[in-house]
Every structure is written in C-alpha cells, then in structure tokens.
Amino acid sequence: MRLTVNGENIDSNAATVKELLDELKIVQGRVAVEVNLSIIKRDDYEVYRLKEGDKVEIVNFIGGGCLK
C-alpha cells in the first residue's frame, strides 16, 4: 500500500497506525499522529485502519525556542 508519511512516499504493509509506527521503529508516547489532517488519539492507534494514499504526519518535539 502506498502512503505519504511526513512528505515521503513509502510502501507499507501496515494496516493500522500502530503497525505503521512499529514498521518505522518509532516509539509511541512522544509522538503525535495525524492522518489526512485529523489527529489520531493514542488509544486509537491499534484500531485506526490506514488506506491507500493516506497522508500521514508523525511529529515529535525538537529543539526550538524562538526559531524561525
């Protein structure tokens, strides 16, 4: 299945958000996930089903105070 994750087109076998995070080796807990502009709650990672062409954003915190 083709997905766009953080702007990158990838091939994924993940059926759910949780599977996608596992596939990408991203530790849950310090990230937030958005699919097609909707935030997916942490409790829903296991049940939220991804589909072909979904645009996924996975964000976390980085250094930045008064950055451009």
């Binding site: 990838i10 991203i26 937030a32 964000v59 250094g63 930045g64």
Partner: protein, 256 residues
Amino acid sequence: MEDKLIIKGIEFKSRLWVGTGKYRDLEETKKAIEASGADVVTVAVRRVNIIDRKSENLLDYIDPKKYKILPNTAGCYNVEDALRYSRLAREAGISDMIKLEVIGDEKTLFPDVIGLLNATEILAKEGFLVFPYTNDDPIMAKRLIDAGAVAVMPLAAPIGSGLGIRNPYNIKIILETVKAPVIVDAGVGTASDVAVAMELGCDAVLLNTAIAGAKDPIAMASAMKHAVIAGRLAYKAGRIPKKLYAAASSPIEGML
C-alpha cells in the same frame, strides 16, 4: 515569605524560562539548561525523521519529569497552522500549555497580532493554557487576556536580536494593564537585559538565543539564572527614586 510564580495552579520553580534551539548539540542543550536553573523549557513540534531513525530525541536529554515542557508554534505564519501545531503538541505532550506564536513576517518575526488573537480565543475555548508571544502593546495584551490567554509574553525586541528591552515604558504599562502574569519573551541579549525586565516587575523571562548563541553558553546560562534572581529581588526590595542631584550618604554633623 516565598516568592513563587503560580499560573493556573501550576507552580514554577524558576522565573527563567528557556528555549532549546540553536545549540551545538543535545549535550550542550542539556548542560546549559541545567546551569540556567530553568523549570520551563520550550520546544518546537516537527516531523519525525522517518529515514534516519538513529537521530536523537530531545526528550532523552530534557527529562519531562524534571522540566515543564512548553511546546511552541514557532514557524507558524497563519492561524490554521498555529492551531494544527498546538493540537499536535497537546497530543504528543503531557500538558495543555502552549506558547502560541503566529508570526507575521520573516524578516522581523514580529507577531501577527490579529491572527494571534483569533488563535488564542479558539485554543482557550479548547482548554489550552495559552501563552501568546505578542508585541509590547498594552492594548493587545489586554485583548489577549480577555480572549482567554493565561499570561502574556511581550517581546523585548525582535527574536534573536539581542537588543534588550527596547520599550520599558510599554512593558511597565502592560504590567499595570493586565491582571495576569507578564513574561518577557525574545530579544534579550545579556544578563543586564534580564535584570531590567525583572526590575520592571515582570513575572518571568523566556530566552533562547542569548544563551545558545553566547561564546560560552553554559556560563551565560548561569549568568542569566543569577540575573533573574537579582532583578526579582531588586523589584521586591523597591528601588530608590532617580534624582538629578546628589544626596550625601554621610552625615554633615560631627564634621570638623
């Protein structure tokens, strides 16, 4: 009596708040923040690097159990983006606090206060504790508090400029106008700038570049820590009025 900053029931151990950008590496970030004695650490929200999973995580260095993490919307130039980043930050984080930035212009990084006001109103209704980065404008400060902000964060000078407090009179008026904490955010260059902000009566100072960009960030972090404490003490102690002429400190009586 203890002089603690408390906002919406949250107790802050230090009146110095710091950013985490522009450091050489995460180790230096960690050491400088430790030396600053800061309690609040502001962080940006960005995409996880999905290609290089070995890249280090900021929160491995800045322990959220030890520090209050204040996510910001740095880099957002419109209300829609600021709301999106705020909501993502809340989902990724551990608190409802958001340092709200709606930037108006790349060259000055001054806030777009109309967008800021709109975003503040929406986020406050969603239960966020909104800390808006705003101009040194007393009327806007009041409007932001009326819209539901829990504090205001007027700039001292443009972000990263190091110019210090360019308009202390406006900051003073803001302090008299709003019945909420005033935290000077952005533009301070060195310890004396921080002391001035605190002597004016500000509740805290947030800074980043002044420490991260110093030749020795860790030493500067320590200087800032002391400046905040000294400035606050001087404010509480009550300074003498300024006078044009001398006033002798030794008695005339008993002179030969």
